[in-house]
Symmetry: C2
Subunit: 494 residues, 2 copies
């Protein structure tokens, strides 16, 4: 069948999609989400079909094409193209098998990941894959295959060094900006630590958002390699690299229901470490009933899976389970967190002691992993000597940033102090509300917005004393955040 092109000026954000009029679709017995081959000047694309009955949108005789198809086949309006029926991707059958409770083979998992990376699956089909792995939990073997497949179908940073150190903290705890302290300490000690990190999805800041206050974080993989070879460390945004790209597409369809299939969580983390050729990986699992990992039993299960997968991938993996009951550090939001980090590296007395302790403990674990004794003292010595700060300044420069005094970091001009209504001690801090208020105030898109905590769990507090301060860059968001703070129980004082 020959049809004429109508560029419908819409983007799918990935999958190749074309729209036919119902009448033409009926002729070829085609339905929504069937596959179609479009041929133009010898080049063929297989696209996902959408069907409309509305001739205003796509009349009979025409084929509406999304941006992705226009670009791929270099189409113009009214071009004549040849249409034929295509097989559905092989992975559709495999996904159905998984939904039926079957185990997936290596071939099947690689095919699914290939189809995901190459935008061959519609978002509905991808959702079935996620649902299948969520309800019929993948075996360790399947998760390992998924990890390897995600690495294979993406770019890889090959440093050809040993050891290559890495760390990952599972999310859900406000603040907790350990990477910005650990990376300069480890790099200053002379070890490679090529850290890729994420931007915030549902939190007030991701490591990449915070680092962006100090330097660029968006680099191609080649430039990342240059930075790491020069300074031994980096803190860049993983999303700008093409490491395990299947993962980002999977996360996108997990979002609507906020589900997180365990196998995907494991494969996602391990694939991104594997792809930058890390050899020694420390995983931090903070637990709290509101966090991603809710209790010790879940954490132990994950720990055991991480260990098994690490062993199979021939990586040294250590897992620590930490306390996620309250934010780590005082600043929540990119600029406030960046200021905390610089204070800490510059040995300013205003630095958050909880963040420092956690970072030193994690550095100690990493040093132990590579056979270095007295890691805690060593890390503390690097911090106290100013070597960690010097290294951070070097990394910031390598990533196109300028050295900045922590007190020069721009914090939102609107501020409001939330005061204690009574004397007592802090018994409870609500992580969910801390995040919510910081986000409403504008974090992470307004870097200077967020929350600064004056008290942590167990601290004594007098009536009228500051519990936390809300900062915001915009009057409108500020008022709204204040309102939410006034009407919710963020701290419990007893």
């Amino acid at each position: 069948m020959k049809l004429r092109v109508k560029d419908i000026d819409t983007s799918s954000g990935g999958p190749l999609i074309a729209v036919m009029n119902q009448k033409d679709a009926d002729l070829l017995d085609l339905h929504v989400m069937d596959r179609l081959k479009i041929k133009k000047r010898g080049k063929i694309d297989t696209v996902v079909l959408d069907v409309t009955q509305n001739s205003k949108i796509v009349p009979k005789g025409k084929i509406g094409v999304f941006e992705e198809v226009v670009n791929s086949l270099k189409l113009r309006n009214d071009d004549s193209v040849q249409i034929s029926v295509a097989r559905k991707p092989l992975s559709i059958d495999f996904i159905k098998n998984k939904l039926n409770g079957q185990r997936l083979s290596k071939k099947e998992i690689y095919q699914i990941v290939w189809d995901i990376v190459h935008n061959k699956l519609s978002s509905v089909e991808l959702a079935y894959f996620v649902a299948a792995c969520y309800t019929n939990v993948m075996s360790t073997e399947e998760t390992i295959l998924l990890t390897k497949a995600m690495v294979k179908h993406g770019d890889v940073l090959n440093l050809h060094k040993y050891p290559v150190i890495d760390k990952h903290s599972i999310g859900g705890i406000p603040g907790n900006r350990t990477s910005l302290v650990i990376i300069p300490i480890i790099a200053a000690a002379g070890y490679y630590i090529p850290k890729t990190s994420s931007r915030s999805i549902t939190s007030p800041a991701g490591t990449a958002d915070t680092m962006e206050v100090l330097a660029n974080v968006t680099f191609p993989i080649k430039k990342m390699k240059e930075i790491v070879l020069k300074t031994k460390g980096c803190i860049v945004w993983g999303g700008s690299l093409n490491l395990a790209p299947a993962d980002d597409k999977i996360i996108a369809v997990e979002r609507p229901l906020e589900i997180d299939a365990e196998s995907q969580l494991l494969a996602s983390i391990m694939a991104k470490k594997y792809a930058v050729s890390s050899t020694h990986i420390l995983i931090d699992i903070p637990i709290n009933k509101d966090a991603k990992v809710r209790n010790r039993a879940e954490a132990l299960r994950l720990k055991s899976e991480f260990k098994k997968i690490g062993k199979k991938l021939r990586k040294h993996v250590k897992v620590i389970i930490t306390d996620g009951k309250q934010p780590i550090g005082n600043g929540i939001g990119p600029a406030l967190e960046a200021r905390d980090v610089l204070w800490l590296l510059k040995r300013d007395p205003r630095a958050p002691i909880d963040l420092e302790k956690k970072c030193l403990m994690m550095c100690a674990k990493l040093f132990t992993m590579i056979g270095i004794k007295n890691g805690y003292s060593k890390a503390l010595e690097i911090l106290n000597s100013g070597k960690a700060y010097t290294k951070m300044a070097e990394i910031i420069k390598a990533q196109g940033g300028k050295e900045i005094a922590p007190d020069k970091i721009k914090i939102g001009k609107f501020s409001f102090d939330v005061l204690s209504k009574k004397n007592g001690a802090v018994k409870w801090i609500d992580n969910i509300y801390i995040s919510k208020i910081a986000r409403i105030a504008g974090a992470p898109h307004d870097k200077g917005s967020g929350i600064y905590l004056h008290k942590h769990l167990g601290d004594k507090v007098r009536k009228g004393e500051k519990l936390f301060t809300i900062y915001s860059e915009s009057r409108h968001e500020f008022e709204y955040a204040k309102d939410v703070a006034k009407n919710s129980k963020v701290f419990i004082i007893k």
Copy 2:
């Protein structure tokens, strides 16, 4: 936030969808598939968000709207609209609970169905619902609630008569056009039988496709009621009515993976019977390893579920398990099936005896259900006396059709006989290939295309004798169908 409207001339086929530029979306911390309120002149719609980074598609400051939103809010290009963040539909949490293995409550099921009917869920979210019900099979109670909710959120045909008879054959068997014989027999006997039927999805013809050869099948519910009150029976297309509309939307997302969650199958059938106020329902479950129901164990399970649901809905339900090993009737494809039916009703010796026997048996069961003895003889008498044919002619007329002699029904002009290559008996007929070839020949969109069987299982056959004939309305499709027939094992003769 105020944005200006850009009509992007695209239809979603249901859900209300709007597209924002990434930059605007970031300001409100919105992501793909989040919900958005659009306000215009006091009217508010909640829409599903899509996000683009391409300013050509939707620039900053604009909001791209799909047809459904344009129509609902009566928008024009460059209208200024007020945008705010909306909560996700309540049912998202319920779907997640079901995915986690929890049972759904009445309130939850009704909310999900309401959200489906009102296009509040994206297709990804709906896919999660289907996957959840597929992997964590619904209990009988949940299925009953789903049935009732689907009926409630749709139109209903209230005849205020008793009894109201109905029948349903579960699909997957080529031919098997029992409704077109049973409806006139039951109606001729003086009972109401308001039959709604489907069009083909993956088969060469649905009952609605075949009836459409003889009459119209697309009616509003008011007209359907008129027809039934006048003639006691009808054979109309369910898709044109608004009976249990949630069902069609669920089926649409089941299609990509060709999954069929048991609870949805049950609820789908029962809701459509319930919605036309049927009191006595006969369900035919043909089994065959290639059919929808693969074996006796599965059929018995379904039977027991149908009985339980019927009891709870206070409907008389009888379930028969029949042999689905071969096509029922000789014609496969709308016109060829319609001819079989008219031959049968007109007592033409060319009528297929297997179809006649099955229809008489089913009529006998229906008569027994309403307390009439000797149902088989009674049905046969109605058939032999010509009363069934007269009734069919009456229904055809009421549905806007004209009486036509069976031999005047237009059959595809291209035909090809497939001959036996040896002497023997028919040991096997491949239903899948019969359907495939009939569809490739053009059925159901070309009504005259399809297959005519000259032999059934067990029939003796000599070398060179006709096994089946392919008919097609188009040369191109004909050649392709012939090709497939020549290269596949459709009949096994031993």
